[in-house]
């Protein structure tokens, strides 16, 4: 085994503020693991970072085809960053399909590292390349680093007893090692991870470590690059303890924290669905925290079980994506009608129907707000970033329990699988909103209401408070079945006013940048980062435009009317055909809302929004 050279060898070391890397290969090449390891290590060295996995819906599309290309982009920086970057500085292409699918995104003069071991005639054919992109001018204008990784990893692992196939499965770690060398990152975090991951198959941990070290050493030995880079620690982040967190993980932990804040036991009823499944997986692993999970037979049973748990006095949660929400619609109406707390996590993906299961979109907003029969208002909280999902999950629990209502917690594929540094809160600093159960039988009325309009929550098992609930309209106060016309009107308004009244418990969002003027950029959900980045670029010299982000999408926070009146127009970038814009036009008809829509299954790039802002500013001047 060769020893690892420490950073600081003969090649010049250049400082770089931010770097964007994209790993691209076959879906069997382990690109997601590679990317996540790079992110973890970058986090450990103190960079700010953001990641964006992009993989196909098929677990193993035919190897080497364009359909099977799996990518992972990450940005790491010594500055505060908002997005996983517009265009990669470095592209790693493990095969021809990965190269041709991704090269168009690479920055001019960017570095492309190509695994030439996979560029035979058969490989080119599988990728439907009529000519070899290494030779036909495709790569003109880029710095091309050719490495036969298949061969290099085979040489590195000759002394192990791995079968040839197993040897080739180590080549993503060779790639990882090479990239660690290029940006002067330590190998230790990944070595530790491998030893833990393969604790029972130590020979695999060792093989991958050898492959990674071989890749690292190749940087020096083979002088593939003209120099090495260093991205210093980010020192503009708020002081504290940090770790890297992915959106679905943050949702899971946030829900447990929310349950604790309310004094409830969390119960998740869920059915596996991309890209939400890891929420179920994560919570299923938290049994020692008293979390109960139920993998139901379908989306409907999942939400019904969660409502059953809520009826019993637990924190009922269901996690899904858009198609699952469609199936849960009737049960959500019941939850509205019986006025029990419930958290519905919608990790949005491209639609309609099966749509783009592994890609991101924001097109379920109106489904969340309005998508049920009857007048069935449900509040909506939307996560901005992976770490923000923790706070939003807690906020959803607060609203659900204090107002006795189902709540939608919206995230999307970009947030779910993306990662960023999370400044870790101490438990005692988290919000508290203990929920009291009704136990006093005197004057008990199942449908009386408190100052929030919420009815009392009673656990079955409480003596003297036996009562019946159901989906048939209930009489005010008694909750008995009622078909009385005036009562139905009264109850319809009572439910609506309760939900709209939540606005009084949420802050008016802060406007950043220009406090008035031509243009306000407004966003909700995962467009947060791209909007923030685009507005910062626009305002580099002076505050030209303002930006505002809505965490609470329904009901809308108080104070927006006044904010909107300070701008000529309000630009709303959304990964749908303008759903929030449509909503705001009906709620605030006096203002000029401009929808900027993108539905490609991909997040907005900051430059796209910056260009749109520029265009609008020029037209207005």
């Amino acid at each position: 085994m060769t020893t690892t050279k420490e950073p600081g060898s003969d090649l010049p070391l250049q400082q770089q503020e931010s770097v964007v890397i994209r790993f691209a290969g076959d879906s069997g090449d382990g690109m997601q693991i590679t990317g996540n390891q790079y992110a973890t290590t970058s986090a450990v060295v103190g960079n700010d970072l953001a990641t964006m996995p992009d993989f196909p819906a098929e677990i193993r599309a035919p190897a080497g085809t364009r359909a099977g290309v799996s990518g992972f982009q990450l940005a790491f920086s010594s500055k505060d960053i908002f997005t996983p970057g517009d265009r990669p500085d470095v592209l790693i292409a493990m095969n021809p399909a990965a190269l041709v699918e991704n090269i168009k995104d690479l920055k001019p003069d960017g570095i492309v590292v190509v695994n030439t071991g996979n560029f035979g005639d058969r490989d080119l054919e599988k990728a439907k390349c009529e000519s070899n992109p290494l030779l036909d001018g495709t790569l003109d204008g880029y710095r091309v680093i050719e490495v036969d990784m298949n061969q290099r990893v085979k040489e590195a692992l000759t002394e192990t007893e791995l079968k040839p196939k197993e040897v080739q499965r180590c080549k993503n770690f060779y790639t990882l090692g090479l990239m660690y060398w290029l940006f002067s990152r330590p190998l230790q975090p990944t070595e530790d991870w491998l030893k833990e991951k393969f604790a029972k198959k130590m020979h695999l941990a060792e093989a991958n470590i050898i492959a990674m070290r071989a890749g690292f050493n190749a940087g020096d030995i083979q002088e593939l690059f003209q120099g090495r880079y260093e991205v210093p620690k980010c020192d503009v982040l708020t002081p504290g303890t940090y770790r890297s967190v992915m959106g679905n993980e943050a949702v899971a932990i946030g829900l447990v924290a929310g349950a604790q804040a309310a004094g409830l036991e969390p119960f998740l009823g869920s059915y596996p669905i991309t890209p939400a499944s890891t929420i179920l997986e994560t919570l299923a692993g938290m049994k020692n925290h008293g979390v109960k999970t139920f993998q139901a037979e379908d989306e409907i049973a999942a939400v019904c079980a969660a409502i059953g748990a809520a009826y019993t006095g637990g924190l009922g949660i269901t996690s899904t994506s858009g198609p699952g929400v469609a199936l849960k619609g009737e049960a959500l109406g019941l939850a509205v009608s019986i006025e029990l707390p419930l958290i519905v996590v919608n990790v949005q993906r491209g639609g309609p129907s099966t749509g783009l299961p592994t890609k991101t979109e924001q097109a379920d907003l109106l489904q969340a707000i309005f998508g049920r029969n009857g007048e069935a208002p449900i509040p909506v909280v939307a996560c901005a970033t992976p770490a923000d999902a923790f706070d939003c999950a807690m906020e959803a629990v607060r609203i659900a329990t204090q107002y006795m209502t189902p709540v939608f917690l919206m995230t999307d594929g970009f947030i779910a699988n993306g990662a960023e540094p999370w400044r870790l809160p101490e438990v005692e600093d988290l919000p508290k909103f203990t929920k009291e159960f009704r136990t006093d039988a005197e004057n008990y009325q199942p449908y009386s209401r408190d100052e929030n309009g919420a009815r009392p929550w009673v656990k079955p098992g409480t003596p003297g408070l036996e009562h019946r609930v159901g989906g048939i309209e209930k009489a005010h106060l008694t909750g008995n079945i009622s078909y009385d016309p005036d009562n139905h009107e009264f109850m319809t308004h009572a439910r609506q006013e309760k939900v709209m009244g939540i606005a009084n418990s949420i802050p008016t969002p802060e406007v950043k940048g220009a406090q008035s003027g031509k243009l306000l950029i407004l966003g909700w959900g995962s467009t947060y980062g791209s909007i923030a980045d685009a507005v910062e670029r626009t305002n580099e010299d002076e505050d030209k435009v303002g930006r505002i982000h809505l965490r609470h999408v329904w009901p809308l926070p108080n104070g927006l009317e006044e904010i909107f009146s300070r701008y000529e127009s309000i630009l709303i970038p959304e990964m749908n055909l303008g759903q929030l814009a449509r909503l705001l036009r009906s709620e605030y008809p006096k203002h000029d809302f401009l929808s900027y829509s993108k539905v490609q299954g991909q997040p907005f790039r900051a430059y796209e929004i910056a260009a749109k802002i520029q265009e609008l500013l020029e037209n207005k001047s």
């Binding site: 940090y242 119960f267 938290m286 020692n288 109960k292 139920f294 139901a296 049973a301 748990a309 019941l334």
Partner: protein
């Protein structure tokens, strides 16, 4: 449990006006259930009746216990959540042939296979009553109804064999007109650990009146039904002078002396399935009573067991550990 000892049948009657059609079989079932609740010393506060949608599903409103009238076909999902969240509750699920066998067939199969400790009462009247008389998934082929004017061409479900197919651990059948039998079966169902499934032949006086008369009519009932009593012989008739016995892959009539002994506890569902298939055979008695009664792990108890194991292995989880897990770093 302060009031349990003194509770009588009437203590389980809610103050709500019962709104089934006069003469409906549901009244007899309601009365039997309320009687059983008192006989078994149930508490009002510890008992929950859950239902779906349909005539039968109005049941919870008439019980002075906790009650949850949910949505069509989905009661098993709600009941599972209730039992998982609080295994101490005594949960009863009331459904019908439309709610349980049609829109909720999927959920019914799954709660049965999981063996959640819930008592399921399926009121089978072979018709949709609340929507006013369409054929149901248990209607026999040829049944004329508003939506099958030339007769139903659907091959019907047999609820008993549906439940057995889902590997249900307690499967029984009774009749609304046979109050004493019904009470006995309900008590057995209540005592069973795991999902109990009870099909109740229930007469719909308006849309399918007399659909079970060929077996349920008091005049012929004893001769046309055989009560499956675990551990006892398969004898029937007013004088218990008729018998049934297994012969190869079938059942045949025989004298009382030659009758087989009924064993509901065998692991194989085969004998129970053969009994279930007697549903529409002429000249053969219709089996009532207990088809299957076996022990198996109870779903919500297994959930609790795994939680206890996880706590033992990893220690009681602390929220801070979840937040601070993995590689962390400091920014100063």
């Amino acid at each position: 449990m302060s009031e349990t000892e003194a509770l009588k049948k009437k203590d389980f009657q809610s103050d709500q006006e019962v709104r089934w059609c006069p003469g409906c079989g549901d009244y007899a079932i309601l009365s039997a259930v309320q009687g059983v609740c008192a006989d078994l010393g149930f508490s009002r506060e510890g008992t929950v009746f859950v239902s779906g949608i349909g005539c039968s599903s109005r049941f919870p409103y008439y019980m002075d216990t906790y009650g949850f009238h949910t949505i069509h076909g989905r009661a098993p999902g709600f009941a599972t959540g209730i039992k998982m969240a609080n295994p101490d509750l005594n949960v009863w699920l009331v459904t019908g042939d439309g709610d349980g066998m049609s829109i909720g067939g999927n959920h019914l199969a799954h709660i049965l296979r999981r063996n959640v400790n819930v008592n399921i009462l399926l009121f089978n009247n072979e018709v949709y009553g609340l929507t006013k008389g369409q054929y149901s998934p248990t209607s026999p082929v040829g049944q004329k109804s508003k939506t099958s004017p030339l007769g139903s061409i659907d091959r019907p479900f047999n609820p008993i064999n549906f439940a057995l197919g889902a590997n249900a651990t307690f499967v029984a059948r009774t009749i609304d007109t046979h109050v004493k039998h019904m009470a006995g079966i309900l008590k057995e169902a209540a005592a069973h650990e795991g999902t109990s499934f009870v099909e109740i032949y229930q007469n719909c006086v308006i849309f399918n009146d007399g659909c079970f008369d060929d077996v349920a009519d008091r005049k012929i009932r004893d001769d046309m039904t055989v009560d499956l009593r675990p551990g006892e012989t398969l004898t029937y008739g007013k004088e218990l002078d008729k018998g049934l016995r297994f012969n190869g892959w079938g059942l045949e009539r025989c004298s009382a002396e030659e009758a087989s002994t009924w064993d509901a506890t065998v692991e194989s569902t085969a004998p129970a399935v053969m009994m279930g298939e007697l549903a529409n055979e002429a000249e053969m008695p219709r089996p009532l009573g207990i088809f299957r009664q076996v022990e198996a792990p109870v779903f919500e108890s297994e959930t609790e067991r795994q939680i206890a194991l996880a706590k033992e292995a990893k220690g009681e989880g602390k929220l801070r550990d979840l937040i601070f897990q993995g590689n962390t770093w400091e920014v100063e």
